[in-house]
Amino acid sequence: MNQEIKKIIEEKINSSTVFLFMKGTPENPQCGFSAQVVGILNDLGIEFASFDVLSDENIRQGIKEYANWPTIPQLYINGKFIGGCDIVRELAASGELMELVTQ
């Protein structure tokens, strides 16, 4: 993939322990799945940084390739891709999400 885009993506996911690529903003999500992940993180009191992929088409396409994952939202913890909405919900329910954050 485009090295410049890759660099921007890596800078973002390394800018915060927990980073979320989403549609819209945490205050105003533009997709139900992004809203669900924001809700889960907020409920668990997990602080996170985010990026609105609707604001940048290159990033939007780039992260699909970067994570080999075709959908948004995408959650990263400690620079590692954790999953989309379904996986985040499963990990939150099992307690593993909290473990990943506090590691």
């Binding site: 139900g32 994952w69 959908t71 999953g83 909405c85």
Partner: protein
């Protein structure tokens, strides 16, 4: 489309138990095209793989469909 998706998943995951449901109802006002689907797959081959890897395998099997026809795919994978 549901049948074709089930066939693709059954071909990709031999011996798996596959369920596909259309959950588009309730998303009509959503500003996008494409179906909302939910798939549930029980497949022994998922054993030892992370959730991300399991879901990537599902997305790979439906690569073509994910491009246009499917807007959202809810995935539930199990090994048994």
């Amino acid at each position: 489309m549901l049948n074709r998706i089930r066939q693709k998943l059954e071909a990709a995951f031999p011996g798996a138990k596959v369920q596909v449901a259309d959950t588009s109802a309730g998303h009509e006002t959503h500003n996008s095209s494409g179906a909302h689907l939910a798939v549930s797959i029980t497949y022994q081959g998922f054993a030892g793989k992370s959730l991300v890897e399991q879901h990537q395998m599902v997305y790979d099997a439906l690569k073509e469909e994910m491009k246009e026809q499917v807007h959202a795919l809810k995935i539930k994978t199990r090994t048994e």
